[in-house]
Symmetry: C2
Subunit: 227 residues, 2 copies
């Protein structure tokens, strides 16, 4: 491997994210329990998120809007405005959450910095992701931050063109096989998978990956043995 | 001038934007006319947008959330959920609007392309701005698209560092003196102002600009005489 750029996914790779969405979803279930059983709320919320994704994209503001739309829809507009107000409050709480770094993140970034150009490549809301990076205290490690509306092969091709490197000089480290690993392997780059205990259903894939440029780890610090 | 990069603001510089926000605001006023006179709705909406700006940032999703919050607040939560549903519908309409290019945009981009690196530098929502650029048919003219959470001097400094040029090699063309011109002049770049008939109150400034690197035009095609 002649790696020049090491790119990190952010949510659930550098810091905790998905559990906050689940926590909010549980609170939403409680708000709607007069209308629907919990598992139906979860299903309907997921359906609404996927339906809205092409129009709204990823991130907390989209999530707030989908929660409101879903609550109105399943209740046939019988919920009170207090519920809408509480949903918006839950969303604002998410935007204001402190950052919880995952294990070994500082150690790994410190070890790699100077030896590689380090990059953050993340989906989500522009302002929210910038704010999280700032709050994380990790900003100084990174040469470049790319907030992407999607993580498909074409988006990674734009990124490496922009970084002025070849695909084989690029490694992406992340918790999502679908977004962080597969499209990068297809492009000819390297994909390192560091699973997180919770993965959003939309990011899950149901087949095994076998590829010369693919590596799977159980914790982030294991990447150091390969870089 | 030894300009290398010509950067264009997008909304109300390349295509119509602010009038769609006003159109939506007028529809919101109609929805709320049982509660408040129109001018009060406008004032309260503006207040809510500015209050939410640090948390939500710019763009249509933020606007939808601010409209809902403002409607609940001014009605003391007496509006019906139909109003909330209609507000979300108004927002989705905005996201799906076709692009209306402003006069001379194609001609100006065509004339400048090949002679300068052309860049889009715009605030707003990541996915929405990418989508608008794609729908505009102008994407191929641009070497780089920068969607920014803010347009302060520090943000432009990051942009030119990223473009690997000096401030004096950069000209920004846009309709907002506050966002497109002043911070660029302060940095040492060039600012060309092409006013649009409608400017959001938040983007207005109340003093005249006098600066060697500042130029004011009445239409976009006039920039060609200076580039």
């Amino acid at each position: 491997m002649s790696i020049k750029v090491v790119a990190f996914d952010a949510d659930d790779t550098l810091w905790v994210n998905e559990p906050f969405f689940y926590e909010t979803e549980r609170k939403l279930c409680a708000l709607l329990e007069d209308y629907l059983p919990h598992h139906t709320v979860s299903q309907e919320l997921y359906r609404m998120q996927i339906q809205n994704l092409p129009l709204y994209g990823y991130g907390v503001k989209s999530f707030i809007l989908s929660m409101i739309e879903m609550a109105m829809s399943v209740s046939e507009k019988t919920i009170s405005l207090d519920v809408v107000e509480k949903i918006i409050g839950l969303g604002k709480e998410m935007l204001e959450k402190p950052i919880e770094l995952l294990d070994d993140v500082e150690h790994v970034l410190h070890s790699l910095s100077g030896r590689y150009r380090l990059v953050v490549a993340t989906k989500g809301d522009l302002l929210d992701q910038e704010r999280k990076l700032k709050k994380s205290g990790l900003e100084h490690y990174f040469h470049h931050i790319e907030i992407m509306s999607e993580k498909r092969e074409i988006d990674y091709r734009k990124l490496i063109k922009h970084l002025d490197i070849e695909p084989e000089e690029f490694v992406m480290i992340g918790n999502s096989l679908k977004s962080d690993v597969l499209p990068v392997l297809t492009m000819g780059g390297h994909g390192f998978h560091v699973p997180f205990h919770t993965t959003w259903a939309f990011e899950q894939i149901d087949h095994r990956i076998e590829h010369a440029n693919f590596k799977e780890f159980t914790s982030l610090k294991e990447v150091l043995a390969h870089l």
